[in-house]
Symmetry: D2
Subunit: 154 residues, 4 copies
């Protein structure tokens, strides 16, 4: 029984690599996002609602939904890369399927196909309102592995 | 000679409607984004670099690039809607074509096809480094017009 | 136990509506595609390999992969619409995750979120080579319900 | 004055490479598509209407629109690659902005950003009805250069 995907893990310290890199994403701290789960090929990011992440109707801004989806999918991919690798988002596509109206946003990223050069991830984003969770967005994403350029540059 | 598109303008006060709605997007103020141009079917948003909008390499975060692209395209669309309408993003797709490495990000949204129900916009995002501008992302987006539900709810 | 999704079925004759509409898509017959499964919110389309659907390396063409993915997702959505409705694709996004190299292509469409106006579907496309199935593409798609304009116009 | 983009040309025989590869895409011949323009970073493909490329309303099928858009963008990218390279589509995203209702479809692909590994292209697809041209789709696409594996394998 495993939380993560079955894809091979190439960096035994992947969780530390992922969390160290996440800690360097200034935007995550600035909007109040935290990384709640890291497993092979999997990453979950949570973001409580505040006026600082809102759009004009008082919901989470679609770009903010995209931001944590992008990071959740990206770190899902990064968790399967080798020590010393870096990761960059090539592109992502987000469908907003319901208003992101609630007190908490949860983005769950998952690798669909890891690759030597390119990795494809998906993410599902849910919004929690009065304790009830609803899917509000789905994402497809392409990631590029950057060899020999550590994601966590000291 | 016109800055905007040639699509018909349905709300003579579109600029005020757009700027009032933008002022209600808490995320824009929180990250330091400003709306620099509004014209029929056109919108430009600028964002100076800070650690608050960074990813792990010290560039603008891809999600932040998506956030201002989404708003630039969305308000380009909103500028062509009727007084009292609201706008929601149905989906957007962002290609990150170069590292968003620089001191300023400029997102320029433009309507490709306005519609009674759905509007399609694109955005081009440039990064300015040492005064030189480079395209770093392109976006395609679908917007939905919300009739009878003011975007700027008082 | 059910093959389909749990979303409400609004047209008791949905299978006939879907199959009649599919039969009118000339391109499906022209390339040799058949609809193998229809269930509420679900649709499967199969396409045997031939030189008529190839790209330059002798694999299935990416556009052909997109064509049956688009139809599988579209008819998954159509299966949940009302009698007399029509359906149009607003947009779709396809990631080609492995070479579509094999003797058979299978596209499985599934509704993620049905809506009064817009429906979001996904599709997974697999290629079968020597009897072994591999996922070769994933798709996200937005559909529009066309009220009062039968998809199957007599 | 030049028809093409200003990106550097690496293969002086690019036009022959592009046209030879196109001639090997069986689907293009099968649906009746022809390549009408090749220039550096540019490619145009045309497709006359027939029942063989239709959807249920008698318009061009959205997947067919995607197929020629994918090839137009892909060959725009291929035109800037080196002799002996191959090209594969990583992903594409298509917005259908108007019904593809007419007698002729024209897909115009253009490179936005050529790269050593990845190239980003766009395509605009127009439909011609009674001699009048209307944009009916726009596409964004990511391509991968395959080094040392000729696109035109003999």
């Amino acid at each position: 029984m495993s939380l993560g995907t079955d894809f091979p893990v190439r960096n035994p310290d992947f969780e530390k690599a992922v969390r160290d890199s996440f800690a360097k994403q200034g935007i995550m701290d600035h909007i109040g996002a935290t990384m709640t789960v890291v497993a092979p090929g999997i990453c979950e990011i949570r973001l409580p609602y505040s006026d600082d992440v809102s759009q004009q109707h008082g919901f989470f801004h679609g770009g903010v939904v995209g931001t944590i989806a992008d990071s959740a999918g990206g770190y899902a991919g990064f968790s399967l890369m080798e020590a010393g690798d870096g990761v960059l988002t090539v592109e992502f596509k987000l469908n907003l399927t319901a208003p992101a109206d609630g007190e908490l946003l949860i983005a769950r990223g998952r690798v669909v196909r890891p690759g030597r050069s390119l990795t494809v991830s998906t993410a599902e984003v849910s919004v929690v309102k009065n304790g009830r969770e609803t899917v509000c967005a789905i994402m497809q994403q392409t990631l590029m592995r950057i060899v020999g350029r550590a994601d966590v540059s000291g």
